[in-house]
Symmetry: C2
Subunit: 461 residues, 2 copies
């Protein structure tokens, strides 16, 4: 039956393009209050599309932007079929700077074998591949190979502030799910599809140092009182050693070395640190000694200062000893590092570095663990076969340096493992002007999704 | 003749109070555009007062607030008499927070033996002491003991942006001056008058570090690229050693140890570090090891971070590696340290601390040397005798941690030495609500100024 579905998908290539362009033309910018109505339209568009694919689809309101929730009707699924969940997001980043776009961001344009539009890759375009595959199964087979739930979010680009309660609310309907499918990442390179098996975790902290009860004249008092801004630099300057390792006691206790075969696999990937340096505008990359750039991003924990604020920040000179100084500090964690343990180790270490006359407040703003999927799990095996069928090449197993909170929530609330397979490419200009999705990736994505449903049904049967 | 002048001053105590209250009632807030007319009124008041004291007085306009310039007429000075300059400022700090004042800041009130008003001490009240002394000499003696020029500024509280050109313009009229008198400091404590013999110099720098050409996602790139905010902390954190000394090479090369008798004199002053800590709201003072609090403020050079800015500074979390990070850094210098040399040593030292992948821009915003007056100079000797006559006690010789740019300009442009003698007290609430000047200090200040003119005339004759 999959063969027939695939033929039908290929025959309808013009239709997929028309459909996705419709969705992409709705400016669903979640962060912009002027686009609240567009957000609702984009959610309704997805609801209608899922209904046309035969699913029961509804809008779930949240305090800000709605979710779309859809399930395959029992009568259209094999008796006793397994259950998988597909997550995607229909909101997009703001298109600024508008003048840098070659064609308007919400007038999707086909140019040089690419769909150019805001959201073409992140994430409407990739999410659409799953919607199209569902429609194809319904049209060709009149039924689905297994039970499928779809959850589309409208707040991913603003940090998913209202998603967790929605997942909790849906928990009874999801308790028997076998896997979560997310296509919000990318292939490793053209012709090299990828499955993302690991995400880093995070501890994000707000640090405030206070000294004098008010700003002091730096002439009258300078040298006789600890300066919170100077102290902040001294403390944060001690959080790395000369080899780039984080100095918090116990920080590396639970960090596993990545095995030699995996490191060898990564070393073989066609990745150019020089090209990355050029892309981000630095003369030279830099990081923990003894690791390659991909290792530093994928399997090593980090500590970064995300923001600093103290004293006088305007033009010119003001001679003060600031009364306080603040910093945002975040750590990216790797598998087995416990975010609670790391957060708990941070405070006493910072305290031990405080000079006399300075007080400290530390607030942990987020703490979630890294994610590492077994690369030989049934869902991953199914995804690998589906990618081979849909995109024509074997995928590589990679990791990602960032964190995707929804993956943790599905794991925490439902114990669900995620399969992260992306159809786009690293140069899709996510969050930047002229975002695009190659047509090869787009059609390959629909084919991969159709094959994936079939493979998962077999795997879990 | 001085005796007669002193008697006349004492007899007219009610008059002085009425006169100074008039001047204090004009809200001459230089920083507030709503008070431009009041600034002009306060300048005119001084001009008229100086005219009533027999001087030729005029307004010198500047791009913002005017100066008042006055000179004793040749026919009212002894032939071939020496020439001294008195500097003061008629602008005041804003009175906020208004609700903290017991009486309105520009309704001068006599309460508990004190004049309470904005500007009572800083600097209208202290400057008025000199104007009153001039009037007394004129009334009693019909002439002045020596030639006197008076320069009053209206922009001291906003950094004297237009004063230097005025001094340069007046240079031909000031080239034969023997000393500059400034009363904009304070006595050391009640009953302990002070002459300030030293001011620290300053180098103020703006440091900017740049890394990636734009903010990066700290998940995707974290650990693989040098972070400008982290680097800023690492660099600034290395500018002091564990004993609180500044680590810039050569920083202490030209720093003279203060001689043992001077240190012993300072140690005998009734100064309480605990009281100072309480006043500024810290549990504990802190500074360079091996020095007392007064030594740290008066004779040791320092480095302070005056401001920090980088990346995300709002509420909550944003996971970025900032593209740049900036700091304001200032050093207070002591005598013989060359600000140009220190500024020149800073740049290569900071460069040597830069991690790969980070670029640096350094801008020196100001650089002026410390001031140290010989404590046995003729003008200081005259001032010590005048203080004994006018305030009834011998003064102590102290220093001040801050810098007064006008002192450097008079030295640079005219080679003129300054005598800093203040009539107020350290608890006069300068720049704070309920600023005051004790009546004892006020009358003693007028007497001291009258005596000083006599002593300077003898000293330089």
């Amino acid at each position: 039956m999959l063969d027939t579905v695939m033929i039908w998908i290929d025959k309808n290539s013009r239709r997929w393009l028309q459909d996705v362009q419709q969705w992409l033309s709705i400016p669903s910018i979640s962060t912009d209050p002027n686009h609240v109505a567009d957000m609702a339209s984009a959610a309704q568009w997805a609801q209608h599309y899922l209904r046309s694919a035969g699913l029961h689809a509804q809008i779930i309101e949240t305090p800000r932007h709605p979710c779309v929730w859809a399930t395959t009707p029992p009568e259209m699924c094999p008796r006793g079929a397994s259950h998988v969940v597909i997550y995607g997001h229909y909101d997009v980043q703001p298109p600024d700077p508008l003048e840098a776009w070659v064609s308007p961001p919400f007038s999707p344009t086909i140019r040089g074998g690419q769909i150019v539009a805001r959201g073409a890759s992140d994430d409407k375009g990739q999410t659409f591949c799953h919607l199209a595959a569902l429609l194809a199964w319904r049209e060709v087979a009149q039924e689905f190979p297994l039970r499928i739930s779809v959850l589309l979010e409208g707040e991913e680009e603003i940090g998913s502030p209202n998603l967790r309660p929605v997942i909790e609310q849906l928990k009874p309907l999801l308790s028997d799910a076998a896997a979560l499918i997310i296509s919000d990442s990318s292939q490793f390179a053209p012709g090299i599809p990828a499955i993302t098996s690991g995400l880093r975790g995070m501890v994000y902290a707000q640090l405030t140092l206070t000294g004098p009860s008010h700003d002091l004249h730096s002439g009258i008092y300078g040298g006789a009182v600890a300066n919170p801004a100077t102290a902040l630099c001294q403390i944060l300057g001690k959080l790395h050693d000369a080899t780039g390792r984080v100095t918090i006691p116990g920080f590396y206790d639970d960090v596993d070395a990545v095995d030699a075969p995996t490191r060898a696999d990564w070393a073989k990937l066609p990745f150019s640190p020089e090209a990355m340096a050029r892309d981000i505008g630095v003369k030279q990359l830099n990081g923990e000694h003894g690791y390659t750039t991909l290792e530093r991003r994928w399997c090593r924990p980090t500590l970064d200062v995300n923001g600093l604020t103290a004293g006088f920040q305007g033009n010119g000179a003001k001679t003060i000893i600031p009364g306080s100084a603040g910093a945002k500090v975040s750590m990216r964690l790797v598998p087995r590092q416990d975010p609670e343990k790391i957060a708990a180790a941070l405070e006493p270490f910072l305290q031990s570095l405080l000079p006399d006359g300075i007080e400290m407040q530390l607030e942990i703003l987020s703490a979630w663990p890294a994610v590492l999927t077994a690369t030989d799990s049934p869902a991953i095996s199914a995804a690998m076969r589906a990618i081979r069928t849909g995109l024509g090449n074997d995928p590589v197993i990679v990791r990602e340096g960032g964190s995707i909170p929804v993956v943790n929530w599905f794991r925490q609330i439902l114990g669900l493992e995620t399969v992260l397979l992306g159809f786009g490419l690293p140069d899709d200009n996510l969050h930047a002007p002229n975002e695009k999705l190659d047509l090869d990736c787009f059609y390959g994505g629909i084919r991969t999704s159709a094959a994936l449903l079939d493979e998962l049904a077999r795997q879990f049967s």
